[in-house]
Structures are given as structure tokens and as C-alpha cells.
Amino acid sequence: MRTNRIWPYFLLAAWILLLAASPFLANNYLMKIATYIAMFAAIAMSWNFIGGYAGYPSFATAAFVGLGSYSGAILQNAGLPMFLAWGAAAVIVVVFSASIGLIILRMKGHYFAIGSIALVDIGSHTASSWSSLTGGGEGLNVKIMQGGPELVGMIFLYTMLAIMLLAFITTVIVDRSKLGFGLRCIQQNEDAADMLGINVMLYKNIAFILSSVFCGIIGAAYASWVAYISPLDSFSILLTLKAAVMVLLGGAGTVFGPIVGSAALVIFEETIWSRFLSLHQGILGLVIVLLIFFLPNGLLKVDWSKLWAKKNG
């Protein structure tokens, strides 16, 4: 079974190379889209650890990205070189998710979902009231990176691609390891998994931490990219919802699902948003509704051969 799965990896490599080559093949805007695709792929893969494998619907993704943005921005403004600030932001986010995880992972299902949403709102309101540290409602300027648009664009494209690759490798490792197996068991039946001897609390925590670390770096990198962040935009529940939709679209709990789903959604959004000025939100909503009904398990889990057979036979 394993050896047959080489092809998808080659295709993924080709996809990543295509994205990486965008500065040379296409204009700066397409390079930006490629950067967003990589960014969302990494965020979707992060969500996949806790939402796809473990089956815990977490909305905390936005909290991790926001925390990463603010940590990175504050540290960078305090004088830390950009890449170090990103690394430090990741550490801060991991410490946060590890400690919060101990608390909220004791809840299940709906309650866990609500708890994770609370984190996002708490993040946004804390950023808003702690003005002395975060600039409050006025937002925070980040040191502007020097360089023309191509250079800056390339730096962030390759940053996001690197994070995407890291997230992918981590996903593959997790998928094939005892951790992945354990998480799937937990999703099926947590009590049974516990009885099987799986250290449920530990595994869930690891999944939660994994779902946070890449988001933290992305948040910090994004802050440096845009040079200005504010509470509402940094902690947006919509971001997590999009990540979940991307994973659902591609296929939850699979290795390639998040990548396929994120690429599909970004490209799809890109085409409707610019062409339907006043209807794009409704159209996206319609797509989501259709997705739930016709592709409940995602693009990758559809039995294409059966559909093809039906059409022909």
C-alpha cells in the first residue's frame, strides 16, 4: 500500500515547485496568491492535527495566529532581528497552547469548540485593552522591511513555502506514527482508546501544540510582511472557519487533504471575489452549503472511479 503512494508526493513536489517558481513565471500578484496558498495550506494542515486527526473542532487557530503576530511584532520592534522574532513568537505560542491545552482539552465536542472560540475573543480583547503593550485599538506598527516588492514578495513566499513544507513533513510523520494512530483512535472513541492504553491527554496536547506552532510563525511573518496589525484583523474567527472549510473540502484527517482543500478554496475565492462585487459572500456561502451536501468527506475521499463509471455505464 505504501509504495503505491509515491505519485501524490511527486505531484506535491511539482506543486510546491510551481508555487516557488511563481516569481519567475508570473507577476507579483500571482506570487502573492501563491504565498497565500502556501500560508493557508500550512494553517489548514495545522488545524488538521487537532480537528482532522483528533476530531476536536478547534477554533483556536485564529488565536495562535494573532498571538504570533503580536509577539513577533512586539519583539521585532524591541530590536530583535526579524527571523529571530519569528522563532521567538513560535516559542511563545507553543508555551501558550501547551498551558491552555491542559485546561480546555478536558472538554469535548461542543464545549471544546466554544472554549477555543473564547480564546480568540480573549486574544482580541486583550490586544485591544492592553494598549501600552499592543497599541490597543490603534494597532501596532511593525518595522518596515526594506526592499522592492519583488524581493520582499519572494522572501515571504519562500518563508510560507518553507513553513508549508515543514507542516507537511510533520503531518506525514504524525500520520505514520503511533501518535497518528492514537489520534485516530481517540476520534473514533476516546474511552476505548484510553482503555487500549493510549495516553489520551498527552496525545491530544501534542496535537493541539502542533496545531499552534506553525500558526505562530505564520502570524509573526505576516505582521512583518504587512507592517501594521490591529486587534480585530489579527484575531478573526473567520480565519479558523476558513481553515476548517479547507480541510473539510480536501478531506479531513488525510495527509494531502488540507493542501488540496486550501489550494481549491483560495483559487475559487480569488475567481469569484473579483468578479462578483456584491454577491461574492453569498456565492461563497452557497459553495459551502453545496460542499456539505455533496462532498461531506472532501474531494479526496470521493470515489471518482464510481462517479466516472456511473457517467459512462
Binding site: N4, I6, W15, S129, V226, Y228, I267, L277, L300
Partner: protein, 403 residues
């Protein structure tokens, strides 16, 4: 073989699909001037975005029906390229680059949101594309040293200074102020400016508090203000917040001789939503339609702009409409002055612009803000209308005490 070929096929088709869908939009017309206008058509600022659209279209019609903008002797028509930035910073950033790289706009107008203006300016600066902001009046928006960002609204300081002077002159017994601001870029900036300038002018600021975005109830801070009994209540926020604040002031029987709200009372929806309760609330604005200004622009005078607007929309224009059109006028005049659409030369022309328009004088200072406007109007709602009471040239009434 089956599972993998499904996956493989899926991934392959995504690659093909993406290549075809994102194929470059072949852009024609080297003969039009393209101006990118990111608009809030959905999201929190959708109401304000709508106002910009009306004003932009008015300007576009006038300019294009007279043949276009005069670029060194040749007339070139204008095309406004618009997208919805969803009141979202990430979209604003994406949109700025799309407009510049794909739509190949020559110039940009900023989105309505203050923070989003900064994000767009950040992208435009790298490409050297001039951006004119229609609704940015806080110094903090212009504090990143961007050379390509300009804003037609006068800085908050000017309004507040005039307001303080007016109150001091007409109601010298006013000595104490209580300030309540929204924790958001523009309202917070205004509250802070009031705090600083009022103290300097000799008033005692008894309290200054901020309420969070999304607050559905302001009764607690308003109750506190009631117990302080200030002479002057000063509240900042967006229309929804101010409507709520005024309502709750009435609920709690809180009054003071002077009640100022920025910027709600200048908008029709504030007065409609409050009815009689809107009476005698004061506010500052960047322009009032009864001004008697004349200028070198597609309308030529405030009255002409006012008449056209009322004819179309059947209601009075507010400063958002005027400033939006003015931003386009500033670009137009800079292009005419530079005699070219070359971005760097137009930027220079903007930086050295010194013109009079139906909206007021426009002259950008070193940080890009319009420092030319002096007599920023102060209005007070009287008989259900936002009446200008300052400066003398436009004044239609005197400052009344709030009841």
C-alpha cells in the same frame, strides 16, 4: 492503484485549474488613466463604503463627460477599478497588489478604514504608487514615513482646537470635561487629542475612558459620567455607538450644558435614529455643504456639488461624500500639474499641490496630511438638521446649550 490515481488525478487537476483560472487578465487601454478604489461593500464599514461609491461616480461622470483629464495637452479618460475589500486587512493588502500588478492602475485611493489605509499604503509604497486617502484624519495613520500616502482630511487637531475656542468664547462657564472614546484607531485618536488640547486650554478633564468594539451597552460608563457631573460630555465612536450612547444618556437622565459626539451628528442616519433626542448635540466635521467655497475643480463651487448631490440622492451630502470626491480632484489636479501620468512625477505634484476646491483648500504637509484647511466647521443639531455654527462664513446659528 486506485486510491493513488484518484489522489494523483485530483492534484493534477488542481494544478491545471489554477493555471487556467489565474491566467493574466489582458489589460487593454493605454489611453485611460486607471485609479484603483478598494471599497468596503461588505463588513463593518459597508455603510461608509457606499457613500464613497456615490461620490466617486459623481466625479467620474463629470470628468469623463468633459473628455477626461488634461495630461499635457491631451485628454485622457478615467477608469475607476473597484473591488470589495470586505473591511478586512488581509483583503486590503491583497487588493492593493492586485490593483497595482494585475489591473495596472496608475494611482490608488485608500479604503475607508484607518488601519486598512495603512496596510494599502504599505503595499503602494513599495511600488511607488501614489495613494490618496479620503477618510484618514489621525496622525497615527501617517506615521510610518510613507512618501506616497496623502490624505485630504485635515488632522483632528484643527477641529478640536476650533471646538474648544468656540465653547470658550460662547459658554465661558464651562470648566470640566468627561471623555468617553471607542477603542479603535480614529475614535481613540480623537479622544486623545481632546484630552491633550482641552487640558492645555485650561479645562479640567475629569475622566477619560474607553469602551470596547462591539459593546452593546454603555450604561456603566455613562452612569459614571452622570455621577461626575461634568460641564461638557465628549464621546467618540462610529454612528452605531453614538446613537446608543445618546439613547442611554436619555435613559439615565444624563445631561450637561455641552454634549459633543464625533462624528455621528453630521450623518443623516444619526438624526433619523434618534429623532428629538439628537437635538443640540454638537460635532465637528471636515466640510459642510453650506460653505461658499469656489475652486478649480469639476464643480467649481460647493453649491454646484451640493445641487448635483441633492438632485441625485434627495438628501444632503456629508463630509464623507465631499472628501471622497476631493481626493479624486486632488489626483486630477496633480496629474494636470505634472502634465504626465508618470507615478513619480505625479507624486511630486501631489506633494507640492496648493489648490482651492469646492471642498476647501488642499495642500499636503510633510507627512501627507492636508494642512491647508483652517475653519473646520462645527455643527450642532438644531430642528432636526445638522446646522453649521462655525466658522462665521457658514454659520447659520449660534451655539445652544444642550437640554
Amino acid at each position: 492503484m486506485k486510491p493513488l490515481s484518484q489522489t494523483a488525478r485530483k492534484i493534477a487537476s488542481v494544478i491545471v485549474l489554477s493555471a487556467s483560472l489565474l491566467g493574466s487578465n489582458a489589460m487593454l487601454s493605454a489611453q485611460t488613466i486607471k485609479i484603483g478604489t478598494p471599497l468596503a461593500l461588505t463588513g463593518g464599514l459597508a455603510d461608509e463604503g457606499k457613500k464613497q461609491v456615490i461620490a466617486y461616480d459623481m466625479w467620474l461622470n463629470r470628468v469623463n463627460s468633459s473628455g477626461g483629464i488634461n495630461v499635457g495637452g491631451k485628454k485622457m479618460k478615467v477608469e475607476l477599478v473597484r473591488y470589495d475589500y470586505e473591511t478586512n486587512a488581509q483583503r486590503a493588502q491583497q487588493l492593493a497588489e492586485k490593483l497595482i500588478v494585475e489591473d495596472k492602475v496608475d494611482f490608488l485611493l485608500a479604503p475607508f478604514g484607518s488601519g486598512h489605509t495603512k496596510v494599502v499604503a504599505g503595499v503602494a509604497e513599495r511600488y511607488g504608487v501614489p495613494v490618496v486617502a479620503t477618510s484618514a484624519s489621525s496622525e497615527s495613520i501617517f506615521d510610518q514615513g510613507y512618501k506616497n500616502l496623502f490624505g485630504v482630511l485635515a488632522p483632528n487637531k484643527g477641529s478640536i482646537t476650533n471646538l474648544l475656542a468656540l465653547v470658550s468664547k460662547n459658554l465661558p462657564q464651562i470648566k470640566t470635561v468627561a471623555i468617553l472614546g471607542r477603542e479603535d484607531v480614529f475614535p481613540k485618536a480623537v479622544a486623545g487629542t481632546m484630552n491633550a488640547l482641552a487640558s492645555k486650554a485650561g479645562y479640567k478633564v475629569q475622566s477619560i475612558e474607553y469602551y470596547s468594539v462591539g459593546a452593546l451597552d454603555l450604561s456603566t460608563p455613562i452612569s459614571k459620567i452622570k455621577s461626575i457631573k461634568p460641564d461638557w460630555i465628549f464621546i467618540t465612536g462610529y454612528s452605531k455607538d453614538l446613537i446608543l450612547a445618546r439613547k442611554q444618556m436619555a435613559d439615565l437622565a444624563v445631561t450637561a450644558p455641552v454634549v459633543t459626539m464625533i462624528t455621528g451628528p453630521v450623518y443623516r442616519e444619526f438624526i433619523d435614529a434618534l429623532g428629538a433626542q439628537a437635538e443640540n448635540v454638537t460635532s465637528t466635521t471636515w466640510w459642510h455643504h453650506s460653505a461658499l467655497l469656489k475652486g478649480d475643480d469639476p464643480w467649481g463651487s460647493t453649491k454646484a456639488f451640493y445641487d448635483e448631490f441633492v438632485g441625485k440622492e434627495k438628501q444632503d451630502p456629508d463630509y464623507v461624500h465631499a472628501a471622497s470626491a476631493a481626493a479624486l480632484v486632488a489626483l486630477q489636479k496633480a496629474i494636470e500639474k505634472a502634465k504626465t501620468t508618470d507615478k513619480a512625477k505625479v507624486r511630486e505634484a501631489l506633494a507640492s499641490l496648493d489648490i482651492k476646491t469646492f471642498y476647501g483648500p488642499i495642500k499636503f504637509g510633510p507627512n501627507g496630511m492636508n494642512t491647508a484647511i483652517e475653519g473646520l466647521p462645527i455643527i450642532q443639531v438644531q430642528d432636526g438638521q445638522p446646522l453649521p455654527i462655525f466658522p462665521a462664513e457658514v454659520s447659520k446659528g449660534g451655539l445652544k446649550q444642550f437640554k
